[in-house]
Protein backbone atom coordinates (compact mmCIF):
# COMPACT_ATOMS: atom_id res chain seq x y z
CA UNK A 1 0.00 0.00 0.00
CA UNK A 2 2.76 2.41 0.97
CA UNK A 3 4.65 1.62 -2.23
CA UNK A 4 1.63 2.58 -4.29
CA UNK A 5 1.23 5.92 -2.56
CA UNK A 6 4.93 6.64 -2.94
CA UNK A 7 4.95 6.09 -6.68
CA UNK A 8 1.74 8.05 -7.03
CA UNK A 9 3.35 11.04 -5.31
CA UNK A 10 6.47 10.70 -7.42
CA UNK A 11 4.42 10.69 -10.59
CA UNK A 12 2.68 13.86 -9.53
CA UNK A 13 6.00 15.52 -8.88
CA UNK A 14 7.51 14.36 -12.18
CA UNK A 15 7.64 17.01 -14.95
CA UNK A 16 5.00 16.68 -17.67
CA UNK A 17 5.96 14.68 -20.73
CA UNK A 18 7.48 16.55 -23.69
CA UNK A 19 5.03 15.16 -26.29
CA UNK A 20 1.74 17.01 -26.32
CA UNK A 21 -1.31 15.61 -28.05
CA UNK A 22 -3.22 17.71 -30.59
CA UNK A 23 -6.20 17.99 -28.30
CA UNK A 24 -4.08 19.22 -25.39
CA UNK A 25 -2.19 21.70 -27.61
CA UNK A 26 -5.52 22.98 -28.86
CA UNK A 27 -6.79 23.35 -25.30
CA UNK A 28 -3.66 25.27 -24.25
CA UNK A 29 -3.97 27.57 -27.28
CA UNK A 30 -7.61 28.35 -26.44
CA UNK A 31 -6.70 29.05 -22.82
CA UNK A 32 -3.91 31.41 -23.86
CA UNK A 33 -6.16 33.21 -26.33
CA UNK A 34 -8.86 33.65 -23.67
CA UNK A 35 -6.49 35.18 -21.11
CA UNK A 36 -4.92 37.42 -23.78
CA UNK A 37 -8.42 38.66 -24.66
CA UNK A 38 -9.15 39.47 -21.00
CA UNK A 39 -5.89 41.44 -20.67
CA UNK A 40 -6.58 43.29 -23.93
CA UNK A 41 -10.02 44.36 -22.74
CA UNK A 42 -8.66 45.47 -19.38
CA UNK A 43 -6.01 47.64 -21.02
CA UNK A 44 -8.60 48.84 -23.54
CA UNK A 45 -10.97 50.05 -20.81
CA UNK A 46 -8.22 52.04 -19.05
CA UNK A 47 -6.89 53.55 -22.28
CA UNK A 48 -10.41 54.35 -23.48
CA UNK A 49 -11.21 56.05 -20.19
CA UNK A 50 -8.01 58.14 -20.36
CA UNK A 51 -8.74 59.21 -23.96
CA UNK A 52 -12.31 60.17 -23.06
CA UNK A 53 -11.11 62.04 -19.97
CA UNK A 54 -8.57 63.95 -22.10
CA UNK A 55 -10.89 64.73 -25.01
CA UNK A 56 -14.16 65.57 -23.26
CA UNK A 57 -12.83 68.72 -21.49
CA UNK A 58 -10.76 69.76 -24.52
CA UNK A 59 -13.76 69.55 -26.85
CA UNK A 60 -15.74 71.49 -24.24
CA UNK A 61 -18.22 68.66 -23.66
CA UNK A 62 -17.60 69.20 -19.96
CA UNK A 63 -16.04 72.02 -17.98
CA UNK A 64 -12.27 71.36 -17.60
CA UNK A 65 -12.34 73.29 -14.29
CA UNK A 66 -14.41 70.47 -12.82
CA UNK A 67 -12.69 67.38 -14.16
CA UNK A 68 -9.11 68.34 -15.10
CA UNK A 69 -7.54 66.03 -17.70
CA UNK A 70 -4.78 63.40 -17.84
CA UNK A 71 -2.16 65.64 -19.45
CA UNK A 72 -2.74 68.26 -16.73
CA UNK A 73 -2.53 65.55 -14.09
CA UNK A 74 0.80 64.42 -15.55
CA UNK A 75 2.08 68.00 -15.52
CA UNK A 76 0.99 68.46 -11.89
CA UNK A 77 2.54 65.14 -10.98
CA UNK A 78 5.80 66.20 -12.61
CA UNK A 79 5.67 69.49 -10.71
CA UNK A 80 5.16 67.67 -7.40
CA UNK A 81 8.11 65.41 -8.18
CA UNK A 82 10.32 68.41 -9.08
CA UNK A 83 9.54 70.43 -5.95
CA UNK A 84 10.08 67.28 -3.88
CA UNK A 85 6.68 67.28 -2.14
CA UNK A 86 5.21 64.16 -3.84
CA UNK A 87 7.43 61.74 -1.96
CA UNK A 88 6.77 63.39 1.40
CA UNK A 89 2.96 63.38 1.03
CA UNK A 90 2.83 59.81 -0.26
CA UNK A 91 5.16 58.56 2.44
CA UNK A 92 3.14 60.32 5.18
CA UNK A 93 -0.05 58.57 4.05
CA UNK A 94 1.69 55.22 3.54
CA UNK A 95 3.38 55.38 6.95
CA UNK A 96 0.15 56.22 8.77
CA UNK A 97 -1.67 53.40 6.95
CA UNK A 98 1.08 50.95 7.91
CA UNK A 99 0.81 51.99 11.57
CA UNK A 100 -2.96 51.61 11.24
CA UNK A 101 -3.17 48.04 9.99
CA UNK A 102 -0.12 46.65 11.76
CA UNK A 103 -1.36 48.25 14.98
CA UNK A 104 -4.84 46.84 14.37
CA UNK A 105 -3.46 43.37 13.78
CA UNK A 106 -1.35 43.43 16.95
CA UNK A 107 -4.15 44.85 19.11
CA UNK A 108 -6.64 42.53 17.38
CA UNK A 109 -4.60 39.39 18.08
CA UNK A 110 -4.05 40.43 21.70
CA UNK A 111 -7.72 41.19 22.36
CA UNK A 112 -9.04 38.15 20.46
CA UNK A 113 -6.59 35.93 22.39
CA UNK A 114 -7.79 37.41 25.66
CA UNK A 115 -11.43 36.84 24.68
CA UNK A 116 -10.63 33.26 23.67
CA UNK A 117 -8.82 32.63 26.96
CA UNK A 118 -11.79 33.86 28.96
CA UNK A 119 -15.18 32.79 27.61
CA UNK A 120 -16.76 34.77 30.46
CA UNK A 121 -15.02 37.98 29.38
CA UNK A 122 -15.99 37.37 25.77
CA UNK A 123 -19.67 36.97 26.74
CA UNK A 124 -19.52 40.16 28.83
CA UNK A 125 -17.80 42.22 26.13
CA UNK A 126 -19.66 40.81 23.13
CA UNK A 127 -22.42 43.49 22.90
CA UNK A 128 -19.87 46.27 23.48
CA UNK A 129 -17.68 45.07 20.64
CA UNK A 130 -20.69 44.69 18.37
CA UNK A 131 -21.75 48.29 19.04
CA UNK A 132 -18.21 49.65 18.61
CA UNK A 133 -17.84 47.67 15.39
CA UNK A 134 -21.11 49.07 14.04
CA UNK A 135 -20.34 52.68 15.03
CA UNK A 136 -19.25 54.77 12.01
CA UNK A 137 -15.71 55.52 13.16
CA UNK A 138 -15.45 58.49 10.76
CA UNK A 139 -17.63 60.33 13.27
CA UNK A 140 -14.72 60.19 15.70
CA UNK A 141 -12.41 62.34 13.55
CA UNK A 142 -13.11 65.63 15.38
CA UNK A 143 -12.96 63.87 18.75
CA UNK A 144 -9.55 62.39 18.03
CA UNK A 145 -8.35 65.74 16.65
CA UNK A 146 -9.23 67.49 19.89
CA UNK A 147 -7.86 64.73 22.10
CA UNK A 148 -4.69 63.79 20.27
CA UNK A 149 -3.65 66.65 17.98
CA UNK A 150 -2.72 66.63 14.31
CA UNK A 151 -0.42 63.62 13.89
CA UNK A 152 -1.61 61.12 16.48
CA UNK A 153 -5.27 61.63 15.61
CA UNK A 154 -4.56 60.22 12.14
CA UNK A 155 -2.99 57.07 13.62
CA UNK A 156 -5.89 56.77 16.05
CA UNK A 157 -8.33 57.07 13.15
CA UNK A 158 -6.46 54.44 11.09
CA UNK A 159 -6.44 51.99 14.01
CA UNK A 160 -9.97 52.63 15.30
CA UNK A 161 -11.55 52.16 11.88
CA UNK A 162 -9.96 48.72 11.42
CA UNK A 163 -9.36 47.29 14.88
CA UNK A 164 -12.88 46.17 15.78
CA UNK A 165 -13.50 44.27 12.59
CA UNK A 166 -10.06 42.68 13.07
CA UNK A 167 -10.99 41.59 16.60
CA UNK A 168 -14.31 40.15 15.45
CA UNK A 169 -12.74 38.32 12.48
CA UNK A 170 -9.89 36.86 14.53
CA UNK A 171 -12.10 35.80 17.43
CA UNK A 172 -14.51 34.10 15.02
CA UNK A 173 -11.49 32.41 13.42
CA UNK A 174 -10.16 31.26 16.80
CA UNK A 175 -13.55 29.80 17.67
CA UNK A 176 -13.70 27.95 14.35
CA UNK A 177 -10.46 26.02 14.91
CA UNK A 178 -11.17 22.27 14.70
CA UNK A 179 -12.49 21.06 18.07
CA UNK A 180 -10.64 17.75 17.65
CA UNK A 181 -7.29 19.55 17.51
CA UNK A 182 -8.10 21.19 20.83
CA UNK A 183 -9.16 17.81 22.26
CA UNK A 184 -5.87 16.38 21.05
CA UNK A 185 -3.89 19.03 22.92
CA UNK A 186 -6.06 18.56 26.04
CA UNK A 187 -5.30 14.87 25.90
CA UNK A 188 -1.66 15.73 26.55
CA UNK A 189 -2.67 17.92 29.47
CA UNK A 190 -2.23 21.21 27.59
CA UNK A 191 -3.26 24.36 29.47
CA UNK A 192 -5.46 26.94 27.76
CA UNK A 193 -2.40 29.14 27.15
CA UNK A 194 -0.57 26.19 25.55
CA UNK A 195 -3.58 25.43 23.35
CA UNK A 196 -3.61 29.07 22.29
CA UNK A 197 0.09 29.05 21.44
CA UNK A 198 0.36 25.63 19.80
CA UNK A 199 -3.02 25.21 18.14
CA UNK A 200 -5.14 28.37 17.94
CA UNK A 201 -2.60 31.00 16.88
CA UNK A 202 -0.70 28.95 14.27
CA UNK A 203 -4.01 27.52 13.05
CA UNK A 204 -5.43 31.00 12.51
CA UNK A 205 -2.71 32.38 10.25
CA UNK A 206 -5.02 32.29 7.17
CA UNK A 207 -7.64 34.24 9.17
CA UNK A 208 -4.98 36.75 10.19
CA UNK A 209 -4.07 37.32 6.55
CA UNK A 210 -7.72 37.85 5.58
CA UNK A 211 -8.05 40.29 8.48
CA UNK A 212 -4.90 42.07 7.31
CA UNK A 213 -6.35 42.53 3.82
CA UNK A 214 -9.52 44.08 5.17
CA UNK A 215 -7.82 46.24 7.79
CA UNK A 216 -5.27 47.56 5.27
CA UNK A 217 -8.08 48.89 3.06
CA UNK A 218 -9.95 50.33 6.03
CA UNK A 219 -6.81 51.90 7.49
CA UNK A 220 -6.18 53.75 4.23
CA UNK A 221 -9.72 55.13 4.42
CA UNK A 222 -9.13 56.15 8.04
CA UNK A 223 -5.84 57.88 7.22
CA UNK A 224 -7.25 59.88 4.29
CA UNK A 225 -10.27 60.98 6.31
CA UNK A 226 -8.00 61.87 9.25
CA UNK A 227 -5.81 63.90 6.92
CA UNK A 228 -8.85 65.82 5.61
CA UNK A 229 -9.33 67.20 9.08
CA UNK A 230 -6.04 67.34 10.78
CA UNK A 231 -2.99 67.25 8.66
CA UNK A 232 -0.46 69.48 6.97
CA UNK A 233 0.87 66.55 4.96
CA UNK A 234 -0.35 63.43 3.20
CA UNK A 235 -2.53 62.69 0.19
CA UNK A 236 -5.73 63.41 2.12
CA UNK A 237 -4.38 66.84 2.94
CA UNK A 238 -3.43 67.40 -0.71
CA UNK A 239 -6.99 66.53 -1.79
CA UNK A 240 -8.66 68.95 0.66
CA UNK A 241 -6.09 71.64 -0.08
CA UNK A 242 -6.63 71.26 -3.84
CA UNK A 243 -10.39 71.39 -3.29
CA UNK A 244 -10.20 74.54 -1.17
CA UNK A 245 -8.19 76.46 -3.79
CA UNK A 246 -10.29 74.94 -6.60
CA UNK A 247 -7.28 73.20 -8.15
CA UNK A 248 -8.86 70.09 -9.66
CA UNK A 249 -5.51 69.16 -11.22
CA UNK A 250 -4.09 68.69 -7.73
CA UNK A 251 -7.14 66.78 -6.50
CA UNK A 252 -7.13 64.39 -9.45
CA UNK A 253 -3.36 63.88 -9.22
CA UNK A 254 -3.67 62.99 -5.54
CA UNK A 255 -6.45 60.51 -6.35
CA UNK A 256 -4.27 58.85 -8.99
CA UNK A 257 -1.38 58.55 -6.52
CA UNK A 258 -3.80 57.19 -3.91
CA UNK A 259 -5.03 54.53 -6.36
CA UNK A 260 -1.42 53.64 -7.12
CA UNK A 261 -0.56 53.46 -3.40
CA UNK A 262 -3.43 51.13 -2.58
CA UNK A 263 -2.53 48.91 -5.54
CA UNK A 264 1.05 48.60 -4.27
CA UNK A 265 -0.21 47.92 -0.75
CA UNK A 266 -2.51 45.10 -1.87
CA UNK A 267 0.09 43.60 -4.17
CA UNK A 268 2.49 43.48 -1.21
CA UNK A 269 -0.09 41.77 1.03
CA UNK A 270 -0.97 39.34 -1.76
CA UNK A 271 2.71 38.50 -2.15
CA UNK A 272 3.05 37.99 1.61
CA UNK A 273 -0.02 35.75 1.55
CA UNK A 274 1.27 33.53 -1.23
CA UNK A 275 4.63 33.31 0.54
CA UNK A 276 2.95 32.08 3.74
CA UNK A 277 0.74 29.63 1.85
CA UNK A 278 3.70 28.29 -0.11
CA UNK A 279 5.50 27.62 3.16
CA UNK A 280 2.48 25.68 4.35
CA UNK A 281 2.13 23.73 1.13
CA UNK A 282 -1.28 25.22 0.34
CA UNK A 283 -2.16 26.83 -2.97
CA UNK A 284 -2.50 30.59 -2.71
CA UNK A 285 -5.92 32.18 -2.54
CA UNK A 286 -7.60 29.16 -0.93
Amino acid sequence: MSDETLTATEQNLAPSQPEISDGFANYLRTQRRRSAQVTMFQIGIVVGFLILWELAPRLNWINPMLTSYPSAVLRTLWGLILDGSLWGHTLATFYATLIGFVGSLIIGIAVAALLWLSPFLSKVLDPIIVVLNALPKIALVPVFFIWLGATSSIYAMAISISVFVTIVMLYTGFEAVDEDKIRLAKLYGASRIQILRKIILPGSVPTMISALKISAGLSLVGVVVGEFQASKAGLGYLITFGGQIFQMNLVMTSLVILAFLSTVLFAAIKYFESYIYRRRGIKSGQ
Partner: protein
Amino acid sequence: MSANSVEISNVSLSYYTPERETLALEQISLNVESGQFVAIVGSSGCGKSTLLSVVAGLVPPTEGTVLVNGKYVQGTSPNIGYMFQKDTLLEWRTVLQNALLGSELLGLDKNKSRERAKSLLTSYGLGEFLHALPTQLSGGMRQRAALARTLCTAPDVLLLDEPFSALDFQTKLALSDEISGILRAEGKTVILVTHDIAEAVSIADRVIVMSRRPGRIKSDHRITYPSAGGERPSPFKARSCPEFNGYFQAVWDELDVHKVE
Protein backbone atom coordinates in the same frame (compact mmCIF):
# COMPACT_ATOMS: atom_id res chain seq x y z
CA MET B 1 -1.64 -10.95 31.31
CA SER B 2 -4.98 -11.39 32.99
CA ALA B 3 -4.67 -8.23 35.09
CA ASN B 4 -7.28 -5.67 34.16
CA SER B 5 -5.82 -2.72 32.35
CA VAL B 6 -9.06 -0.74 32.18
CA GLU B 7 -11.89 -1.11 34.70
CA ILE B 8 -15.05 0.83 33.99
CA SER B 9 -17.50 0.55 36.89
CA ASN B 10 -21.12 1.75 36.81
CA VAL B 11 -20.35 4.76 34.65
CA SER B 12 -23.27 7.01 33.81
CA LEU B 13 -23.04 10.33 32.02
CA SER B 14 -25.61 13.07 31.58
CA TYR B 15 -25.37 16.09 29.32
CA TYR B 16 -27.07 19.26 30.39
CA THR B 17 -28.40 21.94 28.06
CA PRO B 18 -30.76 24.77 29.08
CA GLU B 19 -33.60 22.82 27.42
CA ARG B 20 -33.06 19.32 28.79
CA GLU B 21 -30.92 16.75 30.47
CA THR B 22 -29.73 13.92 28.23
CA LEU B 23 -28.62 10.59 29.65
CA ALA B 24 -25.85 9.53 27.25
CA LEU B 25 -24.40 6.57 29.13
CA GLU B 26 -26.24 4.40 31.63
CA GLN B 27 -24.51 2.11 34.13
CA ILE B 28 -21.64 0.96 31.94
CA SER B 29 -19.33 -1.62 33.47
CA LEU B 30 -16.53 -3.13 31.44
CA ASN B 31 -13.19 -4.69 32.29
CA VAL B 32 -10.49 -4.90 29.66
CA GLU B 33 -7.54 -7.19 30.28
CA SER B 34 -4.03 -5.97 29.67
CA GLY B 35 -3.07 -6.57 26.03
CA GLN B 36 -6.65 -7.21 24.95
CA PHE B 37 -8.13 -5.73 21.77
CA VAL B 38 -11.74 -4.74 22.40
CA ALA B 39 -14.13 -3.30 19.83
CA ILE B 40 -17.26 -1.41 20.83
CA VAL B 41 -19.98 -1.27 18.18
CA GLY B 42 -23.22 0.61 18.23
CA SER B 43 -25.33 2.80 15.99
CA SER B 44 -24.35 6.44 15.71
CA GLY B 45 -25.28 8.54 18.72
CA CYS B 46 -25.21 5.59 21.14
CA GLY B 47 -22.51 7.25 23.23
CA LYS B 48 -19.62 4.99 22.29
CA SER B 49 -17.30 7.90 21.51
CA THR B 50 -18.41 9.59 24.74
CA LEU B 51 -17.35 6.47 26.62
CA LEU B 52 -13.85 6.83 25.15
CA SER B 53 -13.73 10.48 26.24
CA VAL B 54 -14.59 9.36 29.78
CA VAL B 55 -11.86 6.69 29.76
CA ALA B 56 -9.38 9.24 28.38
CA GLY B 57 -10.24 11.59 31.24
CA LEU B 58 -11.46 14.34 28.90
CA VAL B 59 -15.01 14.18 30.30
CA PRO B 60 -15.69 13.31 33.95
CA PRO B 61 -18.50 10.74 34.42
CA THR B 62 -21.64 11.86 36.24
CA GLU B 63 -21.56 8.63 38.22
CA GLY B 64 -19.18 5.71 38.50
CA THR B 65 -15.43 5.31 38.23
CA VAL B 66 -12.78 4.39 35.70
CA LEU B 67 -9.49 2.75 36.66
CA VAL B 68 -6.58 2.58 34.23
CA ASN B 69 -3.65 0.43 35.37
CA GLY B 70 -5.15 0.44 38.85
CA LYS B 71 -5.34 4.22 39.12
CA TYR B 72 -8.51 6.31 39.13
CA VAL B 73 -8.89 8.44 36.03
CA GLN B 74 -9.09 12.07 37.15
CA GLY B 75 -8.10 14.05 34.10
CA THR B 76 -5.91 13.05 31.20
CA SER B 77 -2.86 10.85 31.57
CA PRO B 78 0.15 10.05 29.36
CA ASN B 79 -0.68 6.35 29.85
CA ILE B 80 -3.58 6.74 27.47
CA GLY B 81 -3.28 7.31 23.72
CA TYR B 82 -6.26 8.44 21.66
CA MET B 83 -6.75 8.35 17.91
CA PHE B 84 -9.60 10.25 16.36
CA GLN B 85 -11.65 9.64 13.24
CA LYS B 86 -9.85 12.53 11.59
CA ASP B 87 -6.06 12.38 11.74
CA THR B 88 -6.03 15.93 13.27
CA LEU B 89 -2.53 16.55 11.95
CA LEU B 90 -1.60 20.21 12.33
CA GLU B 91 -1.17 21.42 8.76
CA TRP B 92 1.50 24.02 9.64
CA ARG B 93 3.81 21.41 11.19
CA THR B 94 5.95 18.89 9.36
CA VAL B 95 5.23 15.18 9.82
CA LEU B 96 8.04 14.91 12.38
CA GLN B 97 6.90 18.01 14.29
CA ASN B 98 3.37 16.58 14.32
CA ALA B 99 4.61 13.30 15.76
CA LEU B 100 6.37 15.29 18.49
CA LEU B 101 3.33 17.32 19.57
CA GLY B 102 2.44 15.05 22.50
CA SER B 103 5.94 14.85 23.95
CA GLU B 104 6.28 18.62 23.50
CA LEU B 105 3.11 19.29 25.50
CA LEU B 106 4.04 16.72 28.14
CA GLY B 107 7.52 18.22 28.44
CA LEU B 108 9.36 14.96 27.67
CA ASP B 109 13.05 14.78 26.78
CA LYS B 110 13.44 16.45 23.37
CA ASN B 111 16.29 14.39 21.90
CA LYS B 112 14.89 11.04 23.01
CA SER B 113 11.41 11.88 21.71
CA ARG B 114 12.88 13.03 18.42
CA GLU B 115 14.74 9.75 17.94
CA ARG B 116 11.67 7.76 18.91
CA ALA B 117 9.40 9.73 16.57
CA LYS B 118 11.87 9.31 13.71
CA SER B 119 12.17 5.56 14.21
CA LEU B 120 8.38 5.14 14.49
CA LEU B 121 7.73 7.20 11.35
CA THR B 122 10.45 5.33 9.47
CA SER B 123 9.03 1.95 10.43
CA TYR B 124 5.59 3.09 9.22
CA GLY B 125 7.06 3.91 5.80
CA LEU B 126 7.20 7.68 6.34
CA GLY B 127 11.00 7.93 6.59
CA GLU B 128 11.22 10.03 3.45
CA PHE B 129 8.43 12.32 4.58
CA LEU B 130 9.77 13.43 7.97
CA HIS B 131 9.99 17.04 6.83
CA ALA B 132 7.00 16.97 4.49
CA LEU B 133 3.79 18.80 5.35
CA PRO B 134 0.59 16.79 5.98
CA THR B 135 -0.98 18.18 2.78
CA GLN B 136 1.66 16.27 0.81
CA LEU B 137 0.56 12.90 2.26
CA SER B 138 -2.20 10.49 1.22
CA GLY B 139 -5.02 9.64 3.64
CA GLY B 140 -3.42 6.36 4.74
CA MET B 141 -0.05 8.02 5.25
CA ARG B 142 -1.67 10.77 7.31
CA GLN B 143 -3.36 8.23 9.58
CA ARG B 144 -0.03 6.40 10.02
CA ALA B 145 1.60 9.72 10.97
CA ALA B 146 -1.19 10.16 13.53
CA LEU B 147 -0.42 6.66 14.88
CA ALA B 148 3.24 7.64 15.25
CA ARG B 149 2.17 10.74 17.16
CA THR B 150 -0.03 8.62 19.43
CA LEU B 151 2.64 5.98 20.12
CA CYS B 152 5.51 8.48 20.47
CA THR B 153 4.59 9.15 24.10
CA ALA B 154 4.50 5.36 24.77
CA PRO B 155 0.97 4.95 26.19
CA ASP B 156 -0.13 1.48 27.41
CA VAL B 157 -3.79 1.91 26.59
CA LEU B 158 -4.99 3.01 23.16
CA LEU B 159 -8.41 4.40 22.44
CA LEU B 160 -9.29 4.34 18.74
CA ASP B 161 -12.34 6.36 17.77
CA GLU B 162 -13.25 5.10 14.28
CA PRO B 163 -9.74 5.79 13.01
CA PHE B 164 -10.35 4.07 9.67
CA SER B 165 -13.78 5.41 8.80
CA ALA B 166 -12.58 8.44 6.82
CA LEU B 167 -10.44 6.28 4.50
CA ASP B 168 -11.34 4.62 1.22
CA PHE B 169 -12.10 0.90 1.41
CA GLN B 170 -8.76 -0.48 0.15
CA THR B 171 -6.71 1.84 2.37
CA LYS B 172 -8.97 0.98 5.28
CA LEU B 173 -8.36 -2.77 4.94
CA ALA B 174 -4.61 -2.36 4.46
CA LEU B 175 -4.25 0.12 7.30
CA SER B 176 -6.33 -1.84 9.82
CA ASP B 177 -4.03 -4.84 9.14
CA GLU B 178 -0.99 -2.67 9.62
CA ILE B 179 -2.15 -0.83 12.73
CA SER B 180 -3.61 -3.86 14.50
CA GLY B 181 -0.36 -5.73 13.75
CA ILE B 182 1.71 -2.94 15.30
CA LEU B 183 -0.51 -2.64 18.37
CA ARG B 184 -0.62 -6.42 18.98
CA ALA B 185 3.14 -6.70 18.54
CA GLU B 186 3.66 -3.99 21.15
CA GLY B 187 1.18 -5.67 23.50
CA LYS B 188 -1.00 -2.55 23.85
CA THR B 189 -4.43 -2.64 25.38
CA VAL B 190 -6.82 -1.30 22.76
CA ILE B 191 -10.41 -0.11 22.84
CA LEU B 192 -11.69 0.51 19.31
CA VAL B 193 -14.98 2.22 18.69
CA THR B 194 -16.61 1.61 15.33
CA HIS B 195 -19.95 1.27 13.57
CA ASP B 196 -18.44 -1.16 11.09
CA ILE B 197 -19.36 -4.69 12.28
CA ALA B 198 -16.98 -6.43 9.86
CA GLU B 199 -14.12 -4.27 11.05
CA ALA B 200 -14.91 -5.00 14.70
CA VAL B 201 -15.28 -8.76 14.22
CA SER B 202 -12.14 -9.07 12.09
CA ILE B 203 -9.85 -7.00 14.30
CA ALA B 204 -10.88 -7.56 17.94
CA ASP B 205 -10.64 -10.27 20.62
CA ARG B 206 -13.92 -9.09 22.06
CA VAL B 207 -16.83 -7.19 20.58
CA ILE B 208 -19.10 -5.19 22.88
CA VAL B 209 -22.48 -4.16 21.48
CA MET B 210 -24.00 -0.96 22.82
CA SER B 211 -27.68 -0.08 22.74
CA ARG B 212 -29.15 3.15 21.46
CA ARG B 213 -29.27 6.17 23.74
CA PRO B 214 -28.99 5.96 26.65
CA GLY B 215 -25.93 3.84 25.87
CA ARG B 216 -25.94 0.55 27.74
CA ILE B 217 -23.87 -2.58 27.20
CA LYS B 218 -26.10 -5.05 25.43
CA SER B 219 -23.82 -8.00 24.84
CA ASP B 220 -20.21 -9.11 24.94
CA HIS B 221 -18.87 -11.49 22.27
CA ARG B 222 -15.54 -13.33 22.53
CA ILE B 223 -14.01 -13.61 19.08
CA THR B 224 -11.66 -16.50 18.34
CA TYR B 225 -10.58 -18.06 15.09
CA PRO B 226 -9.63 -21.71 15.87
CA SER B 227 -9.60 -22.48 12.15
CA ALA B 228 -6.58 -20.21 11.76
CA GLY B 229 -4.58 -22.61 13.94
CA GLY B 230 -3.91 -20.99 17.30
CA GLU B 231 -2.55 -17.70 16.05
CA ARG B 232 -4.76 -14.65 15.74
CA PRO B 233 -5.18 -14.13 11.99
CA SER B 234 -4.69 -10.63 10.57
CA PRO B 235 -7.97 -8.72 10.15
CA PHE B 236 -7.80 -9.28 6.41
CA LYS B 237 -7.37 -13.06 6.75
CA ALA B 238 -9.99 -13.21 9.51
CA ARG B 239 -12.56 -11.96 7.02
CA SER B 240 -12.19 -15.22 5.07
CA CYS B 241 -12.24 -17.53 8.13
CA PRO B 242 -15.36 -19.73 8.47
CA GLU B 243 -16.14 -18.26 11.93
CA PHE B 244 -16.35 -14.70 10.60
CA ASN B 245 -19.90 -14.84 9.23
CA GLY B 246 -21.31 -16.32 12.41
CA TYR B 247 -19.90 -13.52 14.55
CA PHE B 248 -20.98 -10.93 12.00
CA GLN B 249 -24.55 -12.28 12.04
CA ALA B 250 -24.67 -12.41 15.85
CA VAL B 251 -23.55 -8.78 16.20
CA TRP B 252 -25.83 -7.66 13.37
CA ASP B 253 -28.85 -9.22 15.09
CA GLU B 254 -27.96 -7.44 18.34
CA LEU B 255 -27.72 -4.04 16.69
CA ASP B 256 -31.36 -3.76 15.50
CA VAL B 257 -30.12 -1.69 12.58
CA HIS B 258 -33.39 -1.91 10.68
CA LYS B 259 -35.60 -0.83 13.57
CA VAL B 260 -36.88 2.68 13.05
CA GLU B 261 -36.46 5.01 16.03
